[in-house]
Assembly symmetry: C2
Homo-oligomer: 462 residues x 2
């Protein structure tokens, strides 16, 4: 996209205008762009503490509709920076104008006193709705949905339906699927705008609507919601409560962010980072040193305990090691290879479980596959090592045999361990990504040493 | 979603019907569901070699429109299994009926002789278009787009435009944005269906259309395409060629799969798995043992070379180690901790670069942040270890000092290394995920040992 480059060029101009306090010119430069680009410009400006105040001045100069749209596109951190820099009247205006789902998102983050003063300015009916939405658990379908959708009556004609839509005149993404409810607010059918557009004016909605449709429950986890969108390729999906009543819809544009968020969560968990400091929604650079440390320490400390056992394994073999001290030089390689082959396997299985490619019922087939992969990989790595140990290092052949037979066993064990642990964790009902790769590495370290020393006893008579 | 459970229950019935060769009953059971669910049922049936033939029999009994839709929703592997089981006439029907982008996808996978016989049955004009599309590089915007979109004339009225759309009567996801071209096929504006629906009949398109719009280039990488969709929240985006002529559009439903694919690629690369065997699009279980081994071996072999250096570092210290053999017991912990803290940092940076949260220009701030995180984490882990080494292991205080001072230095080094290497790789223009975490671990292993032995010389006078 050329767009990126153009924005970057303007960014330089904007920084210069800010430097010279030419706020109106900075604003005009921004207004050449789409709201999403403007939001990105502000994100970058807000990253810099020194520019923050000036950036908020420019933000307040934006046309009102643009300022609302830009606000909705910013990450929470940056939204809060704006909240601090504007007056209550401006804040109230922005919040009232936001789309319903964005409004809920920011209200969840604001301090209670600000929320209350905003709610006082909200019509009673909407206030009840907001309070209901604020109660849905974070990361549930309820927290993603919007109550803004088009309702049609099954006895309307297409012409009447189109007139109704024209009158309601809503946001782009929420208009493309229309919902038909019975008198008890229970969802009975859906009809897409494209069907309406290409159908004759006099056809009744009940003859056009699909009465078999897929819906989400209000307490579904956002991961399930994303999976449903990936599977069915819908632009929007209806959300119903326990009684089957339609309470809102979720649109696909919000799902792109959910997928990115869920994948980020999995990737970071796999690397042994947990969200202790509750910094999930924040950018890397906005998280403080201490919060970063808190997110990284738990696994490192747990692994410290695991290393006590590894240490004990080595200590118990200490006397024998000192007899053939050259064995120590191969410990890093054997441990490292075990860890790496193990996490290759665990990564594939964890990702396969996340995308639905792999199911728990595949366990036996995976075990058989990884065992054979372990044999193939182990033999090749061993052959390579035999040559190295004998010809490069000039060691005794029996030492090479010890190392190579240990290598084969370690790789097979690590592959089996790496592939089975995620399945076991999933079976227990936990997120497989939570049992991080560092944990699998450290178990395979202990196994690697045990195997290595056993082989040394066997082949070198220690 | 309750849907999942219902499908699973039906799956059992279907398997029973297949067992008893009641193919029509199996089909009727399937037809209770949405095409996406039916595709999932076939995916599961095709996984089992013994069921394959029977499953294809049922597939052939599906109503024609359902069979085409189901085909388009299956992964390539399973599509090819169907191709092998049906006759050329059936195949030709399916391919001709597929949406244009799905048609291109399957033609790319079929053997040349089958492609040719299908193209013979294709009208000349479409044949040219297919050939043009087949030439776009894999993973480019060109390979994701469809040439099926609504073109409007800028001098049409809303009423005329709506009549035109009704006449063209296209697929749901391609109808929601309409495109306005000048006489040279250059894109001059876009207008959404929702705007048309809520506007008065007599307004001219030129007064409604947005003439500032975001577009993609036909050779943009699919990763950039996905980023653009995430940023702008559009349902569809236009794709233009070098001359700015509109050649197709990309719809958001295809982007969900791209995001999943790109994230999977990053996750696997970070774990040291490369796509040597060209098995990217295949499910874990469909990849053979040997192909799996080929994807995993390159990094393992490269790391073998790295371990030669690690071995040399240990060997050079061998004599001194044999004097204080208890130092060996702490090697696994120091190496492991270095590797783990390093890959925590690299994972955060690689992911941040992928989502756009982090840019190259942030390098200095990241360095400063990671150095401080390293100090905090290093001190806490050291304190923990001091207690362990002195009170649990009963070692000399100087040994504890050696281990703890090494620990602090190793953690700081690993954090800096882990965060800077991805930035350097990105700067060179490569995918940061390609420098896998195992590589960062093995470098930090070597550094950990060097630091450890240096501290031992310093504090223990070795």
């Amino acid at each position: 996209m050329d767009q990126e480059k153009i924005v970057e060029e303007s960014m330089e101009k904007i920084l210069e205008y800010l430097e010279q306090k030419k706020y109106f010119m900075a604003r005009d430069e921004m207004l050449k762009f789409n709201e999403a680009d403007i939001a990105e410009i502000f994100e970058e400006l807000f990253d810099n503490e020194d520019e923050l105040e000036k950036a908020v001045v420019v933000y307040r100069l934006l046309p009102k509709d643009v300022s609302v749209e830009v606000f909705s596109l910013l990450p929470v951190d940056d939204q809060l920076k704006i909240v601090e820099g504007i007056n209550p009247k401006e804040l109230n205006y922005i919040v009232q104008e936001l789309d319903f789902d964005d409004k809920i998102d920011i209200l969840e983050e604001l301090p209670a006193n600000i929320v209350n003063s905003i709610l006082e300015n909200t019509p009673k009916e909407e206030r009840h709705l907001i309070n209901a939405f604020l109660n849905y658990p974070e990361d549930s379908a309820g927290s993603l949905m919007t109550p803004e959708y088009i309702s049609l009556d099954k006895d309307m004609t297409v012409a009447e339906a189109m007139a109704h839509i024209k009158k309601e005149g809503m946001d782009a993404e929420t208009i493309y699927t229309c919902y038909v409810k019975d008198t008890g607010r229970k969802l009975i059918g859906i009809v897409s705008l494209s069907t309406l557009v290409i159908s004759d004016d006099n056809i009744k909605i009940r003859d056009l609507m699909r009465s078999e449709f897929v819906y989400l429950n209000v307490y579904d986890d956002q991961e399930e919601v994303a999976a449903a969108f990936k599977k069915y390729d819908f632009l929007a999906m209806p959300v119903v409560d326990k009684e089957g009543r339609l309470v809102g819809i979720i649109t696909v544009d919000d799902i792109l962010d959910v997928i990115e968020e869920e994948d980020t969560e999995d990737i970071e968990r796999m690397a042994g980072i947990v969200d202790m400091a509750d910094t999930w929604d924040s950018d890397y650079l906005d998280i403080s040193v201490w919060e970063h440390a808190r997110n990284r320490l738990p696994w490192l400390l747990i692994l410290m305990v695991a290393y006590i056992f590894t240490g004990m394994i080595v200590s118990s073999f200490e006397d024998k090691l000192s007899q053939v001290i050259s064995l120590v030089a191969y410990m890093p390689m054997l441990m490292g290879t075990g860890g790496n082959t193990g996490s290759q396997a665990s990564t594939l299985i964890i990702r396969g479980l996340a995308t639905g490619e792999i199911e728990l019922s595949d366990a036996a087939r995976i075990l058989w596959k990884e065992a054979r992969i372990g044999v193939a990989v182990g033999i090749i790595l061993s052959a390579f090592n035999f040559l190295r140990v004998v010809f490069i290092d000039g060691q005794d052949v029996m030492i090479a045999v010890t190392i190579c037979s240990a290598m084969i066993c370690i790789v097979i064990f690590a592959k089996i361990l790496g592939s089975m642990i995620p399945l076991i964790v999933k079976k227990i009902g936990l997120d497989p990504a939570l049992i991080a790769n560092p944990f699998i590495s450290s178990i395979s370290d202990a196994i690697a040493l045990t195997i290595y020393f056993a082989m040394a006893s066997l082949f070198l008579g220690l």
